[in-house]
């Protein structure tokens, strides 16, 4: 009995796992930044004062503004408000 082999066409269709992993990681991070942009700006604001912070913060703030204008960040805000209302607590 010989080992079953995938037809060539199927093998070509399967993307390399590394490329898929990279797409999943960066697309997920990009979507999270778009959906919860304040997380990035808050994190950068809390960083110790540095050249890196000075360079990155304006970009992150612009991104937050864009996300808010486009309405990308609205679902998170609404969901968070709903969760806190159900739980009966407030954000710090």
């Amino acid at each position: 009995m010989t080992d079953a082999k995938l037809p060539d066409i199927d093998r070509h269709r399967t993307p390399p796992p590394l490329r898929t992993a990279a797409i999943v990681i960066y697309a997920t991070l990009a979507l999270l930044v778009a959906a919860i942009p304040q997380s990035l700006t808050n994190w950068l604001r809390e960083m110790k004062s540095s050249e890196l912070q000075e360079k990155l913060l304006p970009g992150a703030e612009r991104l937050q503004l864009l996300s808010e204008r486009a309405g990308f960040s609205t679902p998170y805000r609404r969901c968070r408000e709903l969760f806190l209302a159900l739980k009966g607590s407030e954000d710090n």
Binding site: P15, T20, A22, V24, T28, L32, S39, Y76, C79, N92
Partner: protein, 472 residues
Amino acid sequence: MLFPTIEFAVFFGLVFPITWLLNAHNTWKKLFLVAASYYFYAFWRVEFTFLLFLSSLVNYLLALGLGRLKDGTPRLILFWLAVAANLGVLGYFKYYNFFAAQFVNAMDTAGIRVEVRFIEVALPVAISFLTFHALSYIIDVYRRAIQPSKSLLDILLYISFFPHLIAGPIVRANKFLVQTETPRNPSDIRLGQSVFLILGGLFKKVIIANYLSTEFVDPVFRDPLNHSSLDLVFGMYAYALQIYCDFSAYTDIAIGIANLLGYEFPQNFNYPYRATSVQDFWRRWHMSLSSWLRDYLYLPLGGNRFGELMTYRNIMVTMALGGLWHGASWNFLIWGLLHGAALVTERIFGLTGSGSSSPRSPIRGALSWFFTIHFVCLTWVFFRAPTLDASLDYFSTMFSGTGWGTTATPFIVLIFILGALSHIIPPRWFETLETRYDTASLPVKVMLPFATIFLIAVAAPDGIAPFIYFQF
């Protein structure tokens, strides 16, 4: 740097592509991973990176010496020197103050006044895990189970590799070093498994462990005398779930991250609260520590080779030292001794759970599970309470029947139920989900982690508490 934080996402977002870009140049890749791991460790205290480097260098040199010497007294002396060097560092940072205090107290009781200088240095994060990795390497080289590595870089990477550096799993030298020899194969990435381990870990840590800890377990253990018996009973179960969700989350994320970088780590938890005996529990809980203690402590002590009495002694010594490994306190020692006593009792009466070859009736199985889970939960009280007095206060109030009201909110009960699901959902469900994920389209592959992390962020508490096992 904690796993469920933005800085770690940024850190990993940089480490992942650079690691794979350098994959064909193995030495450069390892150099980069060592640098990244030291940067990761330096987030706690920069000065302890020196200790990390020194420990790796000393163990590298001593192992080379052990490899070159022929069997005999000089080799044995060098081996014990290596063991003493590793345990000496651990003892100095972790146990010196505890034993010094016991000595002063004992002398005081005898009416002798002794002045002892206590050390005021912060405990280096993960020093116990670091020591266990180093000892595993030294002992395996001494036993000639592995050849000493000629590459200092490999040893630096083995001891410092950031996914397992802080809280395990404890990866054996022979299992890790072989992975450093050649470039990793990207086809070995099991994306579905890694994604589910990381997402499951984030959920268990950020939602279950954090809420149980901050909104119920911490207040109850802080002041047991001012809580009802029901609160303390629920607090005991809640802590059992919290520590599982906290620790297994860390190692699940570590295993997932290591796999994304092409490295294989051993499984560390296997539904521990389904155990039907204490022996079975230790085959399912912190498996990399249990097997480490078995191979490097219990078996060298003689294991079960010299009769029943010596076996009981070896079990008690192993579990007492396993308890003390968690920290220098009477509580951890008592916790270890209680587990040791339970293992001995099971051995005497032939109650060793699923490992036993005798068939069991469902009722006997259910009873075994009931007694095991309650023994484990009750002993967790010693593990969690800050002092022995606090543990006794906890037990005395819990068993006094003072009040059956509770401060647990419906939200905490819901979190508890969600956490308990981690033990109720059959493992094959996760396997099916992983397989389906691996065959899903790319948009689905992206949307699932995004939606899960989004929902975790929606329900997350403010701030993330450090993982419990960071202190060990």
